[in-house]
């Protein structure tokens, strides 16, 4: 150890070790804060990351679609100008079909761009799926399995990996796991009837289940071959949506704008599509971190308390230390170091308990069904929480111990000697 620091360490350690009970309580105070931070952050971010990853993988990084133009207030503004106060009670949808014109050229163009991994066409519509007497509404997506596989990670979420069945047998359908459950379908090979909005019906054979873990999607989504859906909807060779997979998901917003300017079609990045969720996550994070912050502040007060009490009790010792040559900054260091020691030991304990809690939580078998479905807690086991926990605990320890240390350094030894200590 640096001999210029040894006297600081020596006094700090001795003063602290003689106050075992108070020191241990303060250490555990910091430890609880660190544990709370590590566990809460890994739980919260584990859930959020899982949701975002699934959402990104499933719903394309960028979606190109035909934006509905007949927004009532927009039309009113066009005809009557801006200065009008109107109450629109309803508007009839346009008869014109939403279709992406020249979609093959768009697919061709972006498939060759180095920023893109794949582009796939979709024809989406609402439909009714019936099995026996059970009827459920569904979000029907017509896909080209080969291009879809390149553009999304649909394979990952299809239980029996039978995406190619949509090619080999065009009467095949892949339906959401929860939708199948709602319909009463528990095994593959069952026949369902799909009714499209134009009244056409078609009999499909269930070849696989789609199981993403996101309740909302698994409860509504069905996949069929795009050509079959085009025929059913009387829309040969038409698509109303293109999905893009890009190399860097963080560039989605930027690339969506580029596609929009080059094609004039409405484009949506995954961030935009999930902005409500991202906003909720942000608020959730604020709340979590505020709670953790409050815990850390309370533990910092614990440190403040012990150091302040020590300074009050140790006035005579501070005076004699100054008399034998200790400088003001030595005194600051002696008491701040005690706070740092408490913070560091608190961190070690907090990190160990946090790690053990993470282990325990990740081993719990639990059926979670809500926004997502899983068989237990989804934890983000990043080492960064331990790094941040370390930084926070040391920062709060220094913050809490600095003021009493500073006060100690400003004590005038002669005042103490005159008063007889």
């Amino acid at each position: 150890m640096n001999k210029n620091f040894y006297h600081i360490w020596f006094i700090s350690f001795k003063l602290l070790s003689e106050r075992k009970r108070q020191t241990i309580v303060s250490i555990f105070g910091v430890g609880i804060g660190v544990t709370a931070f590590i566990v809460m952050a890994s739980l919260m971010n584990g859930f959020q990351k899982y949701f975002i990853e699934q959402a990104i993988d499933l719903n394309a990084h960028i979606t190109l679609k035909v934006k509905p133009e007949d927004v009532p207030d927009r039309i009113i503004k066009i005809y009557f100008g801006k200065n009008i106060l109107a109450n629109v009670l309803g508007s009839r949808p346009k008869d014109e079909k939403d279709k992406v014109v020249g979609y093959k050229e768009i697919i061709e163009k972006y498939s060759q761009n180095k920023d893109f991994i794949g582009v796939a066409p979709h024809l989406t519509t609402q439909g009714i799926v019936s099995y026996g007497t059970t009827i459920k509404s569904a979000s029907v997506i017509g896909i080209d399995p080969k291009l879809e596989r390149k553009t999304s990670v649909i394979d990952k979420f299809i239980e029996n990996k039978r995406l190619d069945s949509l090619i080999s047998d065009e009467n095949s359908i892949i339906i959401g796991k929860l939708l199948a459950k709602d319909l009463g379908i528990n095994e593959l090979g069952k026949k369902v009837i799909l009714t499209t909005p134009n009244g056409n019906v078609h009999l499909f054979k269930v070849v696989d289940f789609f199981n993403s873990g996101i309740t909302n999607l698994d409860q509504t989504r069905v996949y069929v071959n795009i050509r079959v859906l085009q025929t059913l909807l009387n829309r040969p060779n038409e698509v109303n949506e293109l999905i893009f997979k890009i190399k860097d998901v963080n560039k989605a917003e930027k690339l969506a704008k580029i596609i929009n300017s080059e094609t004039s079609y409405y484009t949506e990045s995954w961030q935009f599509a999930y902005k409500n969720f991202l906003q909720i996550f942000k608020i959730q994070n604020y709340i979590t971190y505020m709670i953790v912050f409050a815990i850390l502040v309370v533990s910092a007060f614990g440190i403040f308390n012990i150091i302040m009490m020590m300074v009050m009790e140790k006035k005579k010792d501070i005076a004699i230390l100054k008399a034998v040559g200790f400088e003001d900054e030595d005194v600051v260091k002696i008491f701040t170091l005690q706070g740092v020691i408490i913070g560091f030991l608190g961190y070690i304990i907090g990190a160990i308990i946090g790690y053990l809690l993470q282990e325990w939580l990740s081993g719990i078998q639990l059926d979670v069904e809500g926004l997502i479905r899983s068989k237990g807690f989804i934890l983000d086991r990043s080492y960064l929480y331990y790094v941040y926990g370390f930084i926070f605990s040391i920062f709060f320890s220094i913050l809490a111990s600095f003021y009493p240390s500073y006060k100690a350094s400003k004590l005038n030894p002669t005042d103490i000697f005159r008063s007889g200590g």
Partner: protein, 223 residues
């Protein structure tokens, strides 16, 4: 040879004029006793000589070098290397053992722990505390505590020992022991300045300075 010199020192505490234009030279090897009634300013003068307090006016010289009271770091260094303090109360740190208390100024001076420990043990042995090095202050008698504080004061081999009523809290037997130690230290060449109100203690001093109402009224050097 002049070890410490104060020149036209004035000290005010609030509006009260505690020390009035005091000039004084302490020479090497002297054992100076400063005496005077309570409130005469003798302790304030001692704190100024020990660089613990700052004069309102006037200068202090140590080994002919003017002390810069604005340079707090240098003041701390001088206190650590050149001065040793003994007070009426022992002011030992309760959490440290006897030898650890003695080591404190040595460690501050940057010397390594092995050497510091060696010096501490030697000093304690010299003051008759062999075998009690590991005891905490509360495990020692009043006289022993004061001897530990003397061992601490001489740990860095200072040029001047500053003692403020060092026997004020001791019984007659321990007072005698402490005064014998001072006498021996002085005989070994250590310069001592001691404040006391007990005239009996001045018998061992080589010089007596009487102070009253903040002024030196008598300065007697024994032959």
């Amino acid at each position: 040879m002049s070890l410490l010199k104060v020149e036209n020192i004035n000290k005010f505490i609030g509006k009260e004029h505690i020390l009035k234009n005091i000039s004084l030279t302490i020479n090497e090897g002297e054992f100076v006793a400063i005496i005077g009634p309570s409130g005469s300013g003798k302790s304030t003068l001692l704190y100024l000589l020990g660089l613990l307090d700052i004069p309102t006016e006037g200068n202090v010289y140590i080994q002919s070098k003017k002390v810069d009271f604005k340079d707090r770091k240098h003041l701390s260094l001088l206190r650590n290397e050149k001065l040793g303090f003994i007070f009426q109360f022992h002011y030992l740190i309760n959490e440290l053992s006897a030898y650890e208390n003695v080591m404190v100024p040595i460690l501050k001076s940057g010397r390594d722990i092995k050497l510091a420990k060696e010096i501490a043990f030697n000093n304690l042995e010299k003051l008759g505390l062999k075998g009690k090095e590991h005891r905490k202050p509360f495990e020692l008698s009043g006289g022993e505590q004061q001897r530990v504080s003397i061992a601490r004061a001489i740990s860095n081999n200072p040029i001047l020992l500053v003692a403020d009523e060092p026997t004020g809290n001791l019984d007659s037997k321990n007072t005698e022991i402490v005064m014998d130690i001072f006498e021996n230290l002085n005989k070994e060449g250590k310069t001592i300045v001691m404040v006391t109100h007990d005239l009996e203690l001045t018998t061992k001093a080589t010089r007596i300075i009487k102070i009253k109402d903040g002024e030196i009224i008598e300065d007697i050097k024994k032959s």
